[in-house]
Symmetry: C2
Subunit: 339 residues, 2 copies
Amino acid sequence: MRRLVKRPTMKDVARAAGVSPMTVSRAVSGEPGVSPDTAARVEQAVRQLGYQRNDNARSLRQKNLRTSTIGLVVDDLANPFYALMARSVEDEAHRRGFLVLVGSTNDEPRREREVIAAFTARQVDGLILVPTNGGHGFLKRQMDGGTCVVCVDRPAKGLAVDTVTVDNRAGAERAVSHLLGHGHTRIAYLGDRFDIWTQRERHAGYLAALASHGIPEDPALVRHELRSQSHAAAALAELRALSAPPTALFTTNDLITIGVMDGLGQPDPVALVGFDDFPLADRLSPPLSVVSQDPVALGATAANLLFSRIDGDRSAPRSVVLLTRLIVRGSGAGGGRPR
Amino acid sequence: MRRLVKRPTMKDVARAAGVSPMTVSRAVSGEPGVSPDTAARVEQAVRQLGYQRNDNARSLRQKNLRTSTIGLVVDDLANPFYALMARSVEDEAHRRGFLVLVGSTNDEPRREREVIAAFTARQVDGLILVPTNGGHGFLKRQMDGGTCVVCVDRPAKGLAVDTVTVDNRAGAERAVSHLLGHGHTRIAYLGDRFDIWTQRERHAGYLAALASHGIPEDPALVRHELRSQSHAAAALAELRALSAPPTALFTTNDLITIGVMDGLGQPDPVALVGFDDFPLADRLSPPLSVVSQDPVALGATAANLLFSRIDGDRSAPRSVVLLTRLIVRGSGAGGGRPR
DNA sequence: CTACGGATTGGTAACGTTCCCATGGACGTC
DNA sequence: GACGTCCATGGGAACGTTACCAATCCGTAG
């Protein structure tokens, strides 16, 4: 069992080096106006005592109030999509000497508020936010106080901040058009919660593709609120039981895609295109065609926007839309008909 | 463009409510000794001014120095395994009102030191650490200063702290025994960097299984340092070109497993068992048999240990070993022989 | 010899909060 | 009516650091 020792402060270092705390402060922070000789003595005292600057006290006192910490608020950090984004944000932060606080909201506005409040209470310099569908009025006050905010993956309703998204609607439209191009006309939509912006966009793309091919929408083929793989599997079973079942499926995220796969045969005459790429999608039978987005680019773009705001950029909020890519691997044709 | 407004402080709230800052402090932090009447006046002033307590200043002054922040240092946050762990740690922290700083080391001791130094400079109360292979002497000083440390996934050489791992050796031994049980005797080992503790353990398990079946080790069948899918694929190609190629493979992480899959036919006579489960492993052909570990349990266990330390537990360091599970799905037999 | 500029150093106050102790009033007891 | 007790409140100092300004020293110019 180790004894607890009080951490040394600048005062202790000053005493050991025979200088004033002010000089230690300058030496430790690498400011000019310290003779090489003195700097060496301070450095030796620092090493001997194992001194480490208290950055909390530092940021409390500093004029240009900077904590060099940002907050990242995502839907669910365990989701590989957000994990990749988080890593990308972390790398950008690390390059600039910033730290990252993370929090997951589970898409619950209440937890989002809690997490953001805890972050701003720690005086984060900025927030990268995957907003829930709740209101974000409370953020305006934080922004007045100097906290920069960037939204990523989805916009925040009624909040004028930099936003980075992908072209969900166009991506969905391309996916469904791909299915239409293979002659499918009964195409089912299997989506997640409709109060999530990306899902509404992807649904709009689905409708747009049908419309541009003159196919009427069939409400029986549209399923929302699929929160899990098992929900998705169940929805597929219901769809197949229809008197006029779908010949093709459009799934709006990886979880739903995987859930649906469990209900498909190998091979299966039903065609499938899903939103989100994932590892091994090319090893399935048939290889899965997907709309792919790049979470690393999303995170890096959001981080770069945020840091330019933190560096003082006060121009009008920007909106960046990254492009999705349709990756055709085979499952879009449907095993029952030749490609 | 919004004007920057100075954040209100307790002094401002005190003025607005007609009380002293001390009373505001008590009211805001829910301490006793404030009349309901006064508390209400303070609360109204808080709401009106949009006041939020500065938790950095708070933790600077507080006697029982607590920042209610922990640091999580993993190999790579983008790795789904660590992402799940991180989420689990975050949930435990959230339950207790703690925040989580995250950092990735890329398994580089230098970056590990940097990240940990940045965390402790912010006075984190504790660290959950996936240690690199570098020395950790510098951590002893931090622990003297009151920072609690728990290692997870791997132990840190020469550091007496709570550690949570899985039974890598037994898991590997079980996997290889499974292959041996199907009559395989030429079993290749495809592993990652040998300076990673888990890899050494899994290799030891591989050797133990061979030994207990009286099979001599063949160095030509052992490959280390496979850092990527393509490395793994290349190693497999080399193994298959041997005059006496292996009839079965043991791969020691999901990346290597997936890389190897790319070099296998569908089906393929070569059998395969991999360490780490992943989504869709059961949808491959043949369905993949794996040794599965539970990152959520790892994270939760480590977090619970850490928080009991933060709460003052000074007992001797504990070592918790969670169990892995062999999931038999078919690929362990080898497509060339009937199961 | 004095004045002066530059470089180095130190003293004091302050950041926003809480700890410690003192104060004052209400209330009950003898 | 005097006294002790409890509760609500406030004043001053301090946490570890840096901003600001003053002081000192050296060397050189006038």
